[in-house]
């Protein structure tokens, strides 16, 4: 640590106050949201999502793609395509609550679209979705089975994103990919909640 660091450390952006002063009202007292409400993104979510997709699309333009980075991105895309297919299959077979399933499917489609745009910007044709995830047949037998199956897929995705974030050479992709990883982590909580499991792993 330099002398300057010790005397006046620069805090991460997170520590700087934001411009939003008004407390955000919760939706707790509102009428129970309809399925359409659940799917309709808020304006803030639309802005955040657009910013993330734009960042992903623009980031590779600065330099040639590293082959190892391309492979990592293709693997992430394959995992997202697998999740998209899984949620669609679950909806088709009523193996997931419709509102939850449609929301998670919508999220995965956003993730797929974002990664496809990145690969396209890097000059790599996005691979088509492959075979379905092994074990999905049995997973569709019940909502509990599917929730566990999808939870494992989401966990695998988080692990893959963690690995990519640690090793990617393209700094511009780190935060956008991190935001997708964080969403996958939240999907796990949603899936645990859907079957009455503890919201946090390791907590009874």
């Amino acid at each position: 640590m330099t002398r300057r660091d010790a005397e006046s450390p620069t805090p991460p952006d997170a520590l700087r106050p934001t411009r939003r002063d008004a407390a955000r009202p919760t939706r707790r007292d509102a009428a129970r949201p309809t399925r359409r409400d659940a799917l309709r993104p808020t304006r803030r979510e639309l802005v955040a999502g657009t910013a993330v997709v734009a960042a992903l699309a623009l980031a590779p333009a600065a330099a040639a793609a590293d082959p190892a980075d391309l492979e990592r991105l293709e693997r992430l895309l394959a995992l997202e395509q697998r999740l998209e297919a899984a949620y669609q299959a679950a909806l088709d077979r009523d193996a997931i609550d419709r509102g939850l399933g449609e929301m998670l499917l919508a999220h995965e489609r956003e993730h797929v679209r974002a990664l496809e745009q990145v690969l396209a910007a890097l000059g790599r044709r996005a691979p088509q979705a492959g075979v379905r995830a092994p074990g999905i047949g049995m997973a569709l037998a019940s909502r509990g089975a599917f929730a566990r199956f999808a939870h494992e897929l989401e966990r695998e995705a988080v692990a893959a994103y963690t690995d990519a974030l640690a090793t990617l050479r393209r700094d511009g992709l780190l935060q956008p990919l991190g935001s997708i990883m964080a969403a996958a982590a939240q999907h796990q909580v949603a899936l645990r909640q859907s079957v009455g499991q503890a919201l946090l792993r390791g907590v009874a």
């Binding site: 640590m1 660091d5 991460p12 999502g49 991190g178 982590a185 939240q186 919201l199």
Partner: protein
């Protein structure tokens, strides 16, 4: 005219946490003669430890304002933040530095907004977790070492889970957005 307790604002909460974290980062002590080299990531990691120390104290305060299952979840999240303090602190030690210690509960309490009940407590909790997610995602760009980035990514995912729990406790969807940036 009756004295009205001002509603806790996000700026107030974050400003308090920010002041707290900065105060925990070294203050007026002379710089160490030996220690982490410039550009090692130690400064940023130490800032994150300070933020996590504040988060530990914040979750204790949040838990006090909650009841039942919500209080139990607050306790669980506080335990997770303690683990984060240790994990990031260990990264600082590996670089030859000493992670900042937390302040007393009383000192933190003076900087936090007044949590008059469950709603204000969960609002504070949501803002806190958003900022923690943002801090770790922001750190990814600046941390020079692969292991540092791996730890930051893992903890970012855990903070996102904690944020999802706060959503649930507030009666909202656990995962409302396809992209969790920490700027909601």
């Amino acid at each position: 005219m009756p004295l009205v307790q001002p509603r806790p604002t996000r700026r107030g909460a974050l400003g308090g946490a920010a002041a707290l974290a900065l105060a925990s980062c070294g203050g007026g002590d002379p710089p160490p003669v030996e220690g982490p080299r410039a550009g090692s990531g130690a400064g940023l990691l130490s800032s994150i430890v300070a933020l996590e120390n504040a988060a530990v104290a914040a979750w204790a305060a949040i838990g006090e304002a909650l009841a039942g299952e919500a209080r139990r979840q607050a306790g669980a999240i506080r335990e997770r933040e303690l683990i984060h303090v240790e994990r990031v602190g260990e990264l600082v030690r590996r670089l030859g530095g000493e992670p900042p210690e937390g302040r007393s509960a009383e000192e933190y309490a003076r900087m936090f907004p007044r949590l008059s009940g469950e709603e204000t407590a969960l609002r504070f909790a949501g803002d806190l977790e958003e900022q923690l997610v943002r801090a770790y995602l922001d750190a990814l760009r600046s941390l020079p070492d692969e292991e540092q980035r791996r730890v930051a990514a893992e903890i970012a995912a855990e903070e996102a889970e904690d944020l999802a729990v706060v959503h649930v406790l507030a009666g909202d969807q656990a995962a409302p957005s396809p992209f969790v940036t920490g700027t909601q």
